[in-house]
């Protein structure tokens, strides 16, 4: 076309006009720390594995491998973890937290169903590491050390691996098939497990190894002094649960009182019911909302008919009868005796007042410091004795399977560094992806899917798992509720919303985007409309 001068122009010629020069701020893609990841004691990259799981199909295995990079127990986690990730989840401020734990369980179970395995990808280092205790902490450390090519031996006092996962947590919360499968996967990496091998003196065995990880947990049930008559039947919760798991059915009677307000108390009471007690009553000295037991465990116990007696202490135990004193809370929330007493019928009293660690094996270990009955460690999990590391219930920290796993992982990282003489790679911790960095408009309203539970009748009489798993579609839906806080999930919004077409979408399935600085005017729309807060504005140096 012989176009008229100036009036008629060639199309698309404005690309010669680089409007990027107008910019005073530039848009930059970033990654923020999702609160779930931040809260995970095992350091799981929750958002990242949910991202994979959201895809369904082949995504589940990728999700599982992402979990396995941090935590060898996805299926166990999906059952027993107290999921602080969900407490931290930003979605809780929108509707309800993402059911991260239920997705983890689905993915973990899927791995067992499909027989997915991991393998050691590095050559052996020739270094020998001793792990004492095959609880979650010891197993986690062994797993991560094995993956790094070290030769690991676990010495375990008990007859089976698992620690409190097996001898504490009852079967109705954690199926032993699942436990066995996930433990076996670790052993399959070539980890040597020596059962029924209680270490009595660390110093005696330490020299055979290049490093040691202590993970003996807290096995001793705490006893409180309660005047007891001759016929009184008093036992502690951990022993009772351990006996049960070892095949000895404890004799509890028809009416069982449990003293304490933690998770162990809940498990003891619920177990008592299953063992045939017609009445299980939990006696606790504070109020319900001050109970340390996890809310879900309390709810499940209540569902199963466990009774509660709040603001009460036990003064005296006699055959078939307890004397209980009523308490009241003072201004600071501390319980104070009132002097009012009453009687309570009980055939037995189970004490669930916490556990202590048996530290006798540590006698004479040079430099090792014990404080308040637990072993002091640095942030690298090393005790005062070089080359001796510790984690899990035996170090001062919140006690949970997940914390124990996290300690095992962190210890493995530092043991590895210590063995090679190099400083461990620093872990980058970007700024938190807080709720206000998100644009939640873009997330569809999607109420959370709650996991199905076993019938009441079967819960009262059997040790079958109470909480069931999601089917695939529900798990997938739940995964897709994740808002991908702080990390791009390929929604194309930035690509769509830029008035200057300054966002380039690379044509690869990974969905990458670039800002075209030739044309970005720095309006900030992509930042404002990124649902997940994965773009930030930075001032331009002018």
């Amino acid at each position: 076309m012989d176009k008229p001068f100036a009036i008629t122009l060639d199309v698309g010629t404005s690309r010669a006009n680089k409007t990027g020069s107008w910019r005073t701020e530039r848009a930059v893609y970033t990654n923020r720390m999702p609160p779930c990841n931040d809260a995970c004691p095992a350091g799981e990259n929750v958002q990242a594995w949910l991202y994979e799981a959201e895809e369904g199909g082949a995504g589940y295995e990728r999700a599982w491998r992402k979990i396995m990079a941090d935590n060898p127990f996805p299926a166990i986690m999906g059952r027993v973890c107290y999921h602080p990730c969900e407490t931290a989840c930003n979605r809780a401020q929108l509707d309800e937290a993402v059911g991260i734990n239920s997705v983890e369980r689905f993915v973990g179970d899927e791995a067992i169903r499909q027989g997915w395995t991991v393998s050691v990808e590095v050559p052996p280092t020739g270094k020998r590491v001793l792990v004492i205790g095959a609880g979650p902490s010891g197993l986690s450390a062994a797993y991560h050390l094995a993956l790094r090519g070290h030769t690991v031996t676990i010495k375990e006092a008990g007859p089976m691996a698992g620690g409190m996962m097996r001898f504490g947590i009852p079967r109705y919360r954690l199926s032993r098939d699942v436990l066995d499968a996930e433990v076996q996967r670790i052993l399959d990496l070539g980890v040597t497990l020596e059962l029924d091998t209680k270490v009595g003196d660390l110093e005696a065995v330490r020299q055979d190894y290049d490093a040691v990880f202590l993970a003996v947990g807290a096995q001793l049930g705490r006893r409180a002094y309660i005047p007891a008559g001759e016929a009184a039947h008093v036992l502690d919760a951990v022993s009772m649960l351990r006996d049960l798991e070892s095949g000895e059915k404890p004799l509890l009677g028809r009416r069982v009182a449990v003293y304490g307000g933690g998770n162990t108390a809940m498990d003891a009471a619920r177990t008592a019911k299953r063992l045939g007690a017609s009445e299980a009553i939990v006696v606790y000295r504070r109020t319900k909302d001050r109970m340390p037991a996890h809310e879900s465990e309390l709810r499940e116990a209540e569902d199963e008919g466990v009774l509660f007696k709040w603001l009460s202490t036990i003064k005296q135990v006699d055959g078939g009868r307890l004397t209980v004193e009523r308490m009241e809370l003072d201004d600071t929330g501390f319980p104070r005796a009132t002097g009012e007493v009453e009687e309570l019928d009980a055939d037995s009293l189970v004490l669930a007042l916490g556990q202590d660690t048996d530290l006798s094996l540590l006698d004479g270990v040079p430099g090792l410091v014990v404080e308040d009955g637990v072993v002091a460690v640095g942030s690298d999990m090393m005790t005062g004795c070089p080359g001796v590391f510790a984690g899990g219930d035996m170090v001062p920290h919140e006690r949970s399977v997940t914390v124990a796993v996290g300690h095992g992982k962190r210890a493995a990282r530092h043991i590895d560094a210590w063995l090679s003489g190099a400083a461990p790679e620093p872990v980058a911790r970007p700024a938190l992806a807080t709720f206000d960095t998100l644009n939640t408009w873009y997330y569809s309203d999607a109420p959370r899917a709650h996991r199905p539970v076993l019938d009441r009748a079967r819960r009262e009489s059997t040790f079958d798992e109470v909480v069931l798993g999601h089917d695939e579609s529900t798990a997938l839906m739940e995964a897709r509720r994740c808002m991908s806080c702080g990390n791009c999930f390929g929604c194309d919004n930035c690509y769509g919303v830029c008035p200057d077409n300054a966002v380039i979408k690379l044509d690869d399935p990974g969905g990458k985007y670039l800002i075209d600085l030739d044309y970005c005017k720095g309006c900030g729309l992509c930042v404002a409309e990124c649902p997940s807060g994965a773009i930030q504005m930075f001032p331009e140096r002018i």
Partner: protein, 420 residues
């Protein structure tokens, strides 16, 4: 084929023969018969492959033509008077974009006061709109000019306005030789647009142009109009060859070669002027006439050439620039610059007032007898008494200043003169 036919029908037929693809028009007297007739012709299928848009206004009509022309269609519209003014903005746009639109203007006065009768105020008001303006003397010429207009518009990519006197021509029944379809098809080749909205070859039409290139764009528009001055005679010659009839061209000289006094006029009044010329020649007076067929572009050299030997040029025009004077007269003065000639501006035939032979004869006699002041603007057949009465009445109010006093003196002159 010779037919006794109303001017509007003849033009409608001529337009039909040119095969416009989009017609968008809005009715206004005296243009109505043309567009009504075209509507009939589209409905009956006499004109095929043509979309007729019943638009909501003349602004819409011209705008639709702009769109249609931009999309590569041959387009047509017609209007008059107020309608032309209502289009004004779009007229400039069409010419600025170089769109080959053809429009008939059935010339009519502009209100207020509202008046439906013929004069040239409408066309003259748009003389600087960038459109080519051709004035038909007769219905035959109106027919012929439309055929030529399409060829001209499309060869140069400019819009062309064919002006014909409202009622005087549009509603007059005269014998007209209407060409055949084959003849017209042979004379007006299919449109090859200079620019086109085409998804296969997209362009941006109608860009914004700033100081850095605006003058150049306008200069090029001017060059294109100048080129039309060469193209128009060529087309007229071709037309003569093809149709055996002289029509169009830039100017129509009539007995000017040796004339001392030449009357310059546009449109249908030329017939009357020629009759007066003949009569005066019979009386031994050296009088001629120069018809302006192409007013825009202004054929300055050709006019100068035609008037080069005259002593007196009397411009009789059906419009004027209020507060300034003659419009065609100014252009004629420009064309005769530095020639020893007096140019008389005479406003005549406003709002449909007939221009009679007698009035013209009186005017020319006065001019020849040097009874008319060439430096003043004259109004043919003005009702001087009436005007004076009104001015008297108005005088009770504010005092007029010296310029208005001059006008009053003019009135005195006129009143004492020969032609009320």
């Amino acid at each position: 084929m010779l037919r006794q036919v109303e001017g509007s029908q003849a033009v409608a037929r001529a337009v039909t023969l040119c095969r416009p693809q989009v017609i968008a028009a809005y009715p206004i007297s005296p243009q109505t018969h043309i567009v009504e007739s075209l509507s009939d012709r589209v409905r009956t299928g006499e004109l095929t492959s043509c979309e007729y848009l019943m638009v909501e206004s003349e602004f819409g009509a011209m705008s639709a033509c702009i769109g249609a022309s931009g999309a590569g269609a041959r387009t047509y519209t017609a209007t008059s008077s107020q309608g032309l003014l209502f289009m004004a903005e779009a007229l400039f746009n069409a010419s600025g974009l170089g769109l080959p639109i053809v429009m008939t203007v059935a010339n009519r006065a502009i209100g207020a006061p509202i008046n439906i009768w013929n004069d040239h105020s409408d066309a003259m008001s748009m003389r600087d709109s960038g459109w080519i303006q051709l004035f038909a003397e007769s219905n035959q010429e109106a027919v012929d000019l439309h055929v030529q207009a399409y060829r001209l518009a499309e060869s140069l990519s400019v819009p062309v306005m064919v002006c014909m006197d409202g009622f005087v021509l549009t509603h007059a029944f005269e014998e007209v030789d209407l060409p055949s379809q084959e003849q017209v098809d042979a004379f007006v080749p299919p449109l090859v647009p200079q620019q086109l909205l085409d998804p296969a070859d997209p362009v941006t039409i109608g860009a914004m142009v700033g100081p850095e290139a605006f003058a150049e764009v306008k200069y090029l528009m001017h060059v294109k109009q100048m080129a039309a001055l060469d193209e128009i005679p060529v087309i007229a010659e071709d037309f003569l060859r093809a149709f055996g009839r002289a029509s169009g061209g830039l100017l129509k000289p009539y007995r000017v070669e040796d004339a001392e006094t030449v009357v310059v006029a546009l449109g249908s009044v030329l017939g009357t002027v020629e009759e007066v010329v003949d009569a005066m020649r019979d009386d031994g007076l050296s009088v001629g006439a120069l018809g302006i067929t192409c007013f825009r572009p202004w054929p300055v050299a050709e006019v100068r050439e035609a008037l080069g030997r005259a002593k007196r040029v009397v411009v009789v025009e059906k419009a004027f620039a209020v507060g300034a004077g003659g419009i065609v007269g100014q252009n004629v003065r420009d064309a005769t610059r530095n020639l020893p000639v007096d140019v008389y501006d005479v406003v005549a035939g406003l709002g449909g007032r007939p221009i009679t032979r007698a009035s013209l004869r009186r005017l020319l006699d006065d001019v020849v007898a040097a009874r008319v002041d060439a430096s003043r603007l004259h109004f043919l057949d003005l009702d001087v008494e009436l005007v004076q009465r009104e001015l008297e009445r108005a005088r009770h109010g504010a005092r007029p200043g010296p310029h208005a006093e001059n006008m009053l003196r003019d009135i005195g002159t006129v009143a004492s003169g020969a032609y009320e």
